[in-house]
Subunit: 359 residues, 2 copies
């Protein structure tokens, strides 16, 4: 059954902080009927992103209920992922109105006695996307199946568009006739694709190992396996997750995602601390060195998120300059479509000496 989703965005509806909301609107299969955000009520979602359909922004849950949603989805993810106390009353109201709850918070709403009891009474479900799987396995050094190509999206920072780039490339690959699959590794990707693991919630000892079997699941679903990346290898808070993805997925190739104009790491929880982004050539080099101590890999393209550059011609100039700087194919697959970048990535991956090589 297709659901009708109301997304709680709670005053943080700006691109980056509300990436879950925008991802679900743009890429999800269920219909989003309302966004709830008091501070942006009445504005249009298209102020922030291109959307396939318009979604009203409302001030309160009560207004959203008039649009008959079947699901309340927590569309933002505070640093640390805990439940803001002010949301409890709203969640209880939604549950009592018959809405199921979907959450990507670190705090599991389904384990909250009051919320769980309310959900049981109302006959609705609470889905915690960050709940880790029962499988607890260390990596075993699994080899990819013959014929499979694994591509990991890596980034110069959090929230630069790794998920969107992967989803756009999957779309282009499918349109080109390849059996492509998106492997979700975060709650938003899971909400969109309906499977996956939020890897930042895993016990660290099982991070590489879980990514390994997640890729195995991906290989069962397609030939071109696009693994959603997380964080960045130089992010002070999230680098462990990033490296677990690199060494757990042992990608044949990586696509580096960057947001030109962004100067410092996403570190919104510590406003007085500044960590500049690394230069792209250094990042490319370090990714290849770090990946290759476990399995050979190469960065085969740079995908830019040019959303900070208003003028399209200027964005194209930055893309050309990045291509010159890195010597790699470059484009903004979100803004200009993935159709030009994808064939160049595909050809580069097929030419890698370790694709289908016996080791």
């Amino acid at each position: 059954m297709t659901e009708r989703i109301a997304i709680l965005a709670d005053g943080q509806l700006t691109f980056g902080d509300a990436k879950t909301a925008f991802g679900v609107i743009r890429y999800g299969t269920d219909r989003v009927v309302a966004l709830i955000d008091r501070s942006n009520a009445g504005r249009s979602v298209s102020v922030w992103i291109a959307v396939p359909y318009e979604v009203p922004i409302l001030a309160t849950l009560e207004e959203a209920l008039a649009l008959e949603p079947t699901v309340l989805l927590i569309g933002i993810s505070p640093t640390g992922g805990a439940l803001p106390p002010s949301w409890r009353a709203m969640l209880l109201t939604a549950i009592r109105a018959g809405l199921s709850i979907r959450s990507g918070l670190h705090t599991f709403l389904g384990d909250d006695p009051e919320l769980a009891a309310a959900a049981a009474s109302a006959g609705v479900t609470i889905t915690d996307y960050r709940r880790p799987p029962e499988r607890r396995e260390c990596a075993v050094g699994r080899r990819h199946l013959p014929g499979k190509r694994v591509i990991l999206a890596v980034g110069s920072d959090c929230a630069v568009g790794k998920m969107s780039v992967s989803l756009e490339l999957v779309r282009a690959a499918r349109e080109g006739g390849d059996a492509a699959v998106f492997v979700p590794t975060g709650q938003t990707g899971m909400m969109i694709a309906g499977w996956g693991v939020a890897v930042d919630r895993l016990i660290s000892d099982f991070l590489n190992g879980t990514v390994e079997w997640l890729v195995e699941d991906g290989e069962a679903r397609g030939d071109w396996v696009f693994v959603e990346g997380q964080g960045s290898i130089d992010h002070p808070a999230y680098s462990a997750v990033t490296v677990g993805l690199i060494h757990g997925s042992t990608p044949h190739a990586m696509v580096l995602v960057h947001k030109p104009g962004l100067e410092d790491h996403d570190f919104t929880h510590v406003p007085d601390r500044v960590f500049p982004l690394a230069p792209l050539p250094l990042l490319i080099d370090l990714h290849e060195r770090l990946a290759s101590v476990v399995a050979p890999s190469r960065v085969v393209a740079v995908a830019l998120n040019t959303s900070l550059i208003a003028d399209a011609d200027e964005a194209r100039r930055v893309i050309a300059a990045t291509e010159a700087e890195t010597g790699l194919p470059c484009d903004d697959p979100f803004r200009f479509g993935p159709e030009r970048l994808w064939p160049r990535i595909r050809a580069a991956v097929e030419a890698l000496p370790w694709v289908d090589a016996a080791d």
Copy 2:
């Protein structure tokens, strides 16, 4: 009160697999009165390591009970860390005999209803060293306090001796008059030092952040802060944990620990998969590149674990060759004492331009 410890080693009493047992005997403050290992009963612990006192190896818990232990410590750590089913009866017997339980397994014994009920009846405690702390914090980019020096032990593999090297260097530093402290990041280190966090059990999102505040705790306990390392940056299964330690502790300097003669990564749970160790110069270079994208750091020494080299003169030749190969001070601080290596490390750290630099 000083405890009397019986260590359960269950047929795996060889160096590496039983590193907890040997660490607690060699560095712990409580007395170890017996090792329980049916397959090695009657042998001497000194077959495997130099110990400060002799410990009988007994076949059964029942024999050990005659020596009046007050604690049963789980001295081995199966890959994945689950509770082998055959241990349950033994644990119940120990609890009913009045022994407290200390465990570093991923499976928390204190959460097992049968074991917990037995412990409550017997009035004994169950300590699960891998239980994560309540604090759930992402890294905040904390600066080290002025006057503090943070040294992280890194390694070419798991179980090469990172903990022992750190403990030996702490001892040497203290004997030289420095206020040195060991920061435990694994269950064995915690059993020895009585505090710390088993970082491989942390939620990945909080790994870097927890290491950060653990180092802050270390700085409150001493000036020379030796952080226990885990895994290796090129280990297919554990690299995420290793990188979380590097970027969470932002060490001024690193000491690389290696075991000459070891050719492949510790991958005992997957015997048919071989991952050769990386050459030391490559490892040193990669550690420095990876650490420095968050905070500058340098590998200032190589500590060798020469336990695979029987002849002492040959061990010294390997140490000299490693020093020539890497251009770094090198010694085996476990076999030959830390007294020569420590002053060279100390001088190298004090000369680093980023020690006490304002940023």
